[in-house]
Symmetry: C2
Subunit: 179 residues, 2 copies
Amino acid sequence: MSLRHALLGLLAEGPASGYDLTKQFEGSLMQWAWHTTHSHVYPELRRMTEDELVEVVATASRGRKTYGITDPGRQELRRWLLADPLTEEAVRSEAALRMFLLGNLEPAEAIKILQDYADRTTQRLETMQAQINQAPAQWRDNPFAVGRLVAERGLRTLPAVRDWALWCIEQLSQAQRPS
Amino acid sequence: MSLRHALLGLLAEGPASGYDLTKQFEGSLMQWAWHTTHSHVYPELRRMTEDELVEVVATASRGRKTYGITDPGRQELRRWLLADPLTEEAVRSEAALRMFLLGNLEPAEAIKILQDYADRTTQRLETMQAQINQAPAQWRDNPFAVGRLVAERGLRTLPAVRDWALWCIEQLSQAQRPS
DNA sequence: CGCGACATGTAAATAGTTACATGATTAT
DNA sequence: ATAATCATGTAACTATTTACATGTCGCG
């Protein structure tokens, strides 16, 4: 139930509406840590209100409801952040799965997919770098800022991923497919 | 519905039972590409049989049923592997999410979590390296072997992840937390 | 004969996606 | 006025997890 903690974490920075929170997911969170949609966010906020982890602190036009984190909410966030050492991430990546099964294609087909992947990885890296450069120094120079550390993670892992894809292409080009 | 394709991909290598397939997930697939449990595998195999993507090719003692991929199954696997360029992975990583929200803890607490994470990453890298070294050369030297390319991905991304965690620790140690 | 690994399943609950549905406000 | 964006929700479906449940075979 990590959506709940993601929302608590964002609300710990300050009050926000379901709409705002959804936008934050679409911004950076989605790319690096967690993905969701408004259809899941709204009901979850309602349940969290029932559980008294958040509360409606303001209502505005267009039915906008601003939520704030409560004390029990902060406690729960802290509890979760400090909980058991991250038991190893039950990874679920469609990209990795395809890579796993690439041997089922002809070398030329596999190479094309890897090349696309490498290209898109390079683009993603460039976009990230640009985003970081354009961000206010206040965020860029503050390791406590939400998402700052995770952004750096992208800068450091994407090149490794790209190099891996290029290495794969080399291997597949040289190899004769064994029967 | 990638579990279906994961199963097709594994069955493309040769017939196997639900039990065998679950074990394969617990082995390498789980760590890098996809995670599942037998409770999901068995019903999915039944549905895939109904859809004629796989068929029972043998039954043995203890109720063991060996499944084989059918021609439509191979077609579907191929279709999926060649489908639309991997639209960017809707990431969902509890580890990354915690990192995202680490700013909510005291620096010392955050540093401890990052240090644990770095340590576990190092261990994981060592384990992987050992696994690859111990694997038969037949697998190690064949880029078409199932999981061979993905294993290499681990070797190349884990050091970047570890270095990232260490970098974070440095940042947090130096920084004064802004109000 | 008893234990561990083999082997398969179902049921109940939770989580997540996609499609449907509605309406208000703001800028052009 | 009309389009874009703001803003919220529900419904139906699919996927996933956890717990329950059962029984077999081979080895010591």
